[in-house]
């Protein structure tokens, strides 16, 4: 599903995506489609794509706090000034976790940065599974990156825990599940309990 497009970036690894508003696309995404911890992909070339995860959400509303006189109400603006751009939108922060090249996923940073207006799509479940399965089984090489970013915003730690909970459902048994449980338990302890120490 198409979620939105890249409008800005904070670094090579952190991008801001504006979620499509109603009317911008045939089937605009519902809030559950761009929930915290959702895996996304950004096409960066003919056979390359960047894989990321939604780690933060910001609501942009320029009209909030503007109490001056208006020519028309918000509903009437669409009728009387159709070329007036609605600047209220939802922005999500995407952290680049890895990339795909020639059909193979890697957990290293994508060397090619997505351009402005690059479309962001949710990563299908099977692709999420494929992204996490390396030659030696389950891999989550991006966890240290996300863990480092938890210092910058508490939303990152929540995104990380949600991501792990989702992966545990995706890998419901076997060694992969055991490892995910161990990692999830350890991070949960650190982020929830140990923070009180």
């Amino acid at each position: 599903m198409k979620l939105g497009k890249i409008v800005a970036s904070d670094s090579h690894l952190q991008y801001r995506c504006r979620i499509y508003a109603p009317g911008e696309t045939e089937s605009p995404p519902a809030p559950s489609d761009y929930a915290l911890g959702t895996f996304v992909s950004l096409v960066t070339g003919s056979d390359t794509a960047m894989v990321g995860v939604i780690c933060d959400t910001v609501l942009q509303n320029p009209e909030f706090g503007v109490y001056g006189p208006r020519l028309s109400t918000g509903d009437e603006t669409v009728v009387f000034s159709p070329d007036y751009v609605d600047e209220a939108c939802t922005l999500v922060t995407i952290v680049a976790l890895g990339h795909m090249e020639g059909g193979k996923y890697s957990h290293d940073a994508s060397p090619i940065a997505p351009p402005v207006n690059c479309e962001v799509s949710s990563l299908p479940v099977e692709e999420v599974r494929a992204f996490h399965l390396g030659p030696a089984g389950l891999r989550l090489a991006y966890v240290p990156l996300l863990l480092g970013l938890t210092r910058t915003s508490p939303a990152y730690s929540q995104a990380l825990l949600r991501l792990l909970a989702g992966l545990k459902e995706l890998f419901p048994d076997g060694e992969a599940h055991t490892r995910l449980c161990l990692l999830s338990q350890s991070l949960s302890w650190r982020l929830r309990v140990e923070s009180l120490a």
């Binding site: 338990q185 949960s188 302890w189 929830r192 309990v193 140990e194 009180l196 120490a197």
Partner: protein
């Protein structure tokens, strides 16, 4: 039922000491206390070595913050759940293990491979079968084994601890324990094991407190009997309890030092000299079979000779003649007072405890010295040890023949209670030398001792350090702990730290009778245990028991208990009451 081996943790890295490493374990089953045994594997294919290690310390690696432990009635698990952490098992431990090594049967001991497990290497809880095989030198019910209990860190009887009786009966044993920690109980268990049909030992117990009476029961118990077989006659263990009135030492068994010791420290140089002269003369005159009368006669002879030839009296001074008479008289009086009229009547002209009565295979002899003065106890023990050692020496060197009193053709094991009274650190007693000689040379001639003491701080450190098997029960006194740590090198620091925390019936066994120091739960005795402290409050309450009071009144009403009648009462009984005029 023994548990199958399972991985309990992963190696973390080297520890503080070269033989230590640490591993991480959640220890969900709470099965890795200090003292527990684990192992890791080295090698591949058919050359896999199981390296056994003992847990020496454990600390929390993951702990709840103090804030979650602030209320005694609120569980930190619930508090963590409140914060969104709902995993049930949270604890994680860093466990320090000391490598004992892999057991090399050709060497008969642990061999340290000097290769610690690599990081992440799996660590297994040692299965019971492995521990049985590597901790003990002997198997259960194997000849020469002494099953004293089971490994403390495992359920009762899962890993029996079997001592090597041949080792501890030849290289000596020390049982060190505080009061009330079960040392006489453990000693009785060891005696029981020595008298099982698999050992049939010759044991003498020196019992100053009368705690071992109940061992007499063992001759009636099935565990101490065995039917005849093709090459063995029927066996039934014998137990002989010698009460204090039956303890006799003939004067001929006393040596000059024993006499001097019995007569006391304030013996003057001249008295000591005179005693030596008389003693040697009595020995010559009676061919070593002197009596007290002989000794006193020789003392009088010495005084007489001294009066006629002062130089012979050792003085040469002008007044020696008159002093010699006084010396002899004083000595004679003291000999009578100490030896001839002692209340216990231990010393006798002719009666003596025959070695063949005290020592016999399959026999336990309990020598009760509970009403004997301490000095006399020491001399009794010194004479017995001396005679035992000399008899074994003479027999082994073929200087004694069957039928002779010093013929003892089998090894013997002596258990000495209150050993600090016989080999104290602060004094040199008549028993000290005997014990030191047996501890250093007894092994060659089959004489072993087991020293039992509740005050190791007062025990001669040389004596303690020569006991090659050590059994330590709870010791709380710090001086005693320090002495034990100083003298017992084979027990590691981590096990020594366990000493104050041991419960009754729990012991540390170390030394030659086991392959490595172990924490043991002492098994139950077959015979009854007697050394219970008297229940004084119960006795006081009983004094007010109505039936006892009636019995007391009845006893006091008996004629024999009445005071003798006065003259007036007697006249009244004979002539009737006096009539008033």
């Amino acid at each position: 039922m023994p548990r199958a081996e399972h991985c309990v943790g992963l190696a973390k890295g080297p520890g503080d000491k070269p033989h230590q490493f640490t591993f991480i374990s959640p220890d969900h089953a709470d099965e890795l206390p200090v003292g527990e045994y684990i192992y890791y594997s080295l090698g591949r294919g058919s050359d896999i070595l199981q390296v056994v290690c003992r847990i020496e310390a454990r600390v929390e690696a993951r702990n709840y913050p103090d804030a979650l432990l602030a209320h005694p009635e609120v569980s930190p698990i619930d508090m963590a759940a409140l914060l969104g952490y709902s995993e049930p098992d949270n604890e994680l431990f860093v466990i320090t293990a000391g490598v004992l090594g892999h057991y090399d049967r050709s060497v008969g001991d642990f061999v340290n491979p000097r290769r610690l497990p690599r990081v992440g290497h799996p660590i297994y809880r040692a299965p019971a079968e492995l521990l049985q095989a590597v901790l003990n030198r002997k198997k259960m019910d194997e000849p020469g084994g002494a099953h004293i209990g089971s490994l403390l860190s495992r359920p009762p009887d899962e890993v029996p601890i079997v001592l090597d009786a041949a080792r501890f009966t030849s290289t000596h044993m020390a049982i060190i324990a505080g009061t009330g920690s079960g040392k006489s109980y453990l000693a009785a268990v060891i005696v029981e094991e020595l008298l099982r049909p698999t050992n049939r030992a010759s044991v003498l117990i020196i019992d100053p407190h009368g705690e071992y009476d109940s061992l007499a029961e063992l001759s009636n118990l099935d565990q101490f009997q065995a039917p005849a077989s093709d090459d063995m006659i029927e066996y039934r263990a014998a137990a002989k309890v010698l009460s204090p009135d039956k303890v006799k030492v003939a004067y001929r068994s006393l040596e000059l030092d024993d006499l001097r010791y019995l007569l006391g420290r304030d013996l003057t140089a001249k008295q000591s000299y005179a005693l030596g002269m008389a003693y040697r003369a009595a020995m010559r005159a009676t061919r070593d079979k002197w009596t007290l009368t002989d000794l006193k006669n020789e003392l009088a002879n010495w005084a007489h000779r001294a009066a006629n030839a002062p130089d012979e009296a050792g003085g040469g001074a002008a007044d020696v003649d008159s002093n010699a008479q006084q010396t002899a008289a004083a000595l004679s009086w003291r000999l009578d007072n100490v030896l001839g009229r002692s209340e216990s009547r231990i010393f006798d002209d002719h009666l003596d405890l025959a070695l063949s009565d005290l020592f016999a295979p399959g026999q336990c002899t309990v020598l009760q010295l509970s009403q004997v003065a301490e000095r006399e106890q020491q001399v009794v023990v010194a004479t017995i040890l001396r005679r035992l050692y000399k008899a074994r020496l003479a027999t082994e060197q073929r200087l004694a023949a069957p039928g002779q009193p010093n013929y003892l053709p089998y090894p013997a094991f002596v258990i000495l209670e209150e050993a600090h009274n016989f080999a104290p650190a602060s004094a040199d007693l008549v028993t000290s030398d005997q014990l030191k000689r047996i501890l250093s040379e007894g092994r060659k001639f089959g004489v072993g001792v087991c020293l039992i003491s509740q005050r190791p701080g007062r025990l001669d450190p040389d004596v303690l350090s020569q006991c090659m098997t050590q059994v330590l029960l709870r010791i709380t006194n710090e001086v005693d702990q320090a002495r034990v740590a100083q003298s017992v090198e084979s027990v590691g620091r981590s096990l020594m730290d366990e000493l104050p925390g041991l419960s009754k019936g729990q012991a540390i066994v170390a030394g030659m009778a086991v392959n490595t120091p172990v924490l043991v739960r002492v098994r139950s005795r077959f015979t009854r245990h007697q050394a219970q402290d008297p229940d004084a409050p119960a006795r006081w309450r009983a004094h007010f028991d109505a039936r006892q009071e009636r019995r007391r009144q009845r006893d006091e009403a008996l004629p024999g208990r009445r005071p003798p009648p006065t003259t007036e009462e007697l006249e009244a009984q004979i002539f009737g009451p006096e009539e008033d005029e």
